[in-house]
């Protein structure tokens, strides 16, 4: 190795230069977030008013109109998805952390990871074949089920992790008192980890709330109020997509406004998670 002072200067310079590149890349990674939020706010905020939040979409060419049905539709779909995803995900996670042996757990975790990687569009056509075809039509129900399916592996993995954080002593103390294992699990372990479980559910909801692709062939979208769960239902991401690719300027404005509402919903859920975690850690 050379050791002349000139070479040392070169090495230091090179080191500083590459450190600079790392800082630059961090800036470039964060920058798109700033741009996306800037444009969502600047384009969307002017179109959000009571009219937008309370009315149905207006026909092309007419002023006004809103996305009330899509906002409510997204909430209904999230409710249905939670009804499917929470029991399977949470109780499955309970089994992994409280009962499962290492081998079984490894297999289940592997399958859950594979499912987490399944492209959302593939979920859409699977649930189309599973539910939409037998029911002979697009429906809110199928939309809820597809989002619920996507939530199961997410909730399962995170629930297992939060339950494993509960100290083993708690379980042993309860069992030593003669409390049956299932009561120990439900009233001691799950109760202790309750905040963690709630935030894992919220995290999964935030993930699926913005999904569009799986809803294309299940919930399908609807320009009016859905009367029952076996009818197509509007969803915010679907409405944003349809408006964004339309040729009309008013619809583009509405798409921006819808996108702003959607991102605020997702941030609201995420903010909920932060708050729960913070309260938990201050205790």
């Amino acid at each position: 190795m050379q050791t002349s002072p000139a070479y040392d200067r070169y090495r230091k310079l090179k080191s500083t230069f590459i450190s600079g590149l790392c800082v630059l890349s961090a800036v470039l990674v964060v920058a798109p977030l700033g741009f996306v939020f800037f444009h969502l706010l600047s384009e969307g905020i002017s179109s959000i008013d009571l009219n937008f939040l309370l009315n149905l979409p207006a026909p092309v060419g007419e002023k006004g109109g809103g996305m009330a049905n899509a906002i409510v539709g997204t909430l209904i779909l999230l409710g249905l998805a939670s009804a499917v995803g929470i029991p399977f995900g949470v109780l499955g996670g309970v089994y992994l952390s409280e009962y499962g042996n290492a081998h079984f757990n490894r297999v289940i975790r592997f399958m859950a990871d594979i499912l987490n990687g399944v492209p959302s569009i593939v979920w859409g056509i699977v649930v189309y074949a599973l539910i939409v075809v037998p029911m002979k039509g697009f429906s809110a129900l199928s939309g809820g089920v597809v989002l619920g399916f996507m939530m199961i592996p997410l909730i399962l993995r995170t629930t297992e992790e939060v339950l494993l954080l509960v100290p083993r002593d708690y379980r042993e103390a309860a069992l030593a008192l003669g409390i049956p294992k299932w009561k120990t699990t439900v009233f001691i372990v799950m109760k202790t980890a309750f905040r963690g479980i709630v935030s894992s559910v919220l995290l999964a909801q935030a993930r699926v709330a913005g999904e569009t692709a799986p809803l294309l062939f299940t919930a399908f979208g609807n320009r009016y109020w859905a009367q029952s769960l076996d009818q197509p239902i509007a969803a915010l991401p679907l409405q944003i997509f349809n408006y964004a690719i339309s040729p009309y300027d008013e619809w583009h404005q509405q798409a921006w406004a819808g996108a702003l509402v959607l991102i605020l919903m997702i941030l609201f859920i995420n903010f909920g998670i932060r708050t729960i975690i913070n309260i938990g850690s201050n205790k």
């Binding site: 741009f35 996306v36 594979i114 399944v118 569009i121 003669g178 062939f217």
Partner: protein, 320 residues
């Protein structure tokens, strides 16, 4: 071991074991639902694509004419579009992500780490459709008016940077997908770099290495496999990305050398044509495309696991 001990404790006379067993088997069924779900996914795709596989066989994957009216289906343009847009995304995203995670683990001031990590997590929370919207109305006009003409004037002698500029196209899709896979690659590679023992760094510093030399010799070469795993994980996400790509790639089933030209991907052809598929064979072909996508994502997932497994597990092969 722990399980056995708790069973002994629980075997105190007088305890009713039936609710316990019921609870155990009930939660076991819930856990196993994941296996059932994976079976449902694979089974429905295989069943749906069976007619197309029987009709077209392997030819489907290597021919490039897409003419639903005459029932000619070749998936090659979609495979090409998917691979090219994903590879472009990786080329852009991997250096940025690794640079960011090096910054975060090696020399970022402590009070800056948490906020930057949170911002990266927030980027991951932005839905695909919003990136698509932003891509159509903000990014594409910018690229079309400023970046692409400049690229063409400087590098236009290369076939990949020549031809008419539409705005929508392969490169635009690659850039959008790159932004979307930045968070996953960054967070996985940050975890990998954090798992590099400090002893490695200290040894290199003790030899008089500069910061970059420490990063290169002690950190990056140690973490090489894990970082490759992170990139493969990002590739898996990129291949299946649907909405944003559909909105910016131009949706034209052609294989063109130019990155400015519109393309089409496996995921976006399903998104666009599934509800228009009028014949059974057309629908079946789209199922087969879904099956191809699933196969590719399972494969990338397994490869990524193999890479990352040796890195983070303490019993892994540290000597390699």
């Amino acid at each position: 071991m722990e399980n056995r001990r708790t069973h002994i404790l629980q075997a105190i006379p007088g305890t009713n074991k039936i609710p316990d067993r019921m609870f155990k088997w009930f939660t076991a069924a819930m856990a196993f639902s994941v296996g059932l779900l994976l079976f449902i996914v694979i089974w429905n795709l295989v069943r749906g694509s069976y007619p197309a596989i029987k009709e077209y066989g392997w030819r489907f994957l290597v021919t490039s004419s897409w003419d639903p009216v005459h029932e000619e289906f070749g998936a090659l343009p979609f495979i090409y579009g998917t691979v090219v847009s994903s590879v472009l995304a990786l080329i852009i995203a991997v250096p940025l992500s690794i640079g960011t995670s090096v910054f975060l683990t090696e020399f970022a001031p402590l009070r800056l780490r948490r906020p930057v990590i949170s911002l990266v997590e927030m980027l991951a929370a932005v839905p695909s459709v919003i990136f698509g919207l932003w891509g159509i109305f903000v990014l594409i006009p910018f690229l079309r008016n400023y970046i692409y003409p400049w690229l063409e004037s400087v590098l236009g002698f290369l076939p990949i940077f020549e031809g008419p500029i539409y705005g929508v196209g392969m490169l635009s899709a690659g850039i959008i997908v790159a932004i979307m896979i930045l968070p996953i690659i960054t967070s996985v590679s940050r975890e990998i770099l954090e798992s590099v023992p400090d002893l490695q760094r200290e040894a290199a510093y003790a030899l008089g290495a500069t910061r970059w030399e420490v990063i290169r010799i002690a950190v990056l070469s140690y973490a090489k496999r894990g970082l490759m795993g992170a990139a493969v994980l990002g590739l898996g996400r990129a291949l299946g990305e649907t909405m944003a790509v559909t909105m910016v790639i131009g949706n034209r089933p052609e294989i063109a050398a130019s990155l400015f030209a519109p393309g089409y991907t496996l995921a976006s052809v399903i998104a666009n044509e599934f509800t228009e598929a009028t014949t059974d064979i057309y629908l079946s072909v789209l199922f087969e495309i879904g099956l191809v996508l699933l196969g590719v994502t399972i494969l990338t997932n397994i490869i990524a696991r193999v890479f990352i497994y040796g890195m983070t597990s303490p019993s892994g092969s540290k000597s390699t």
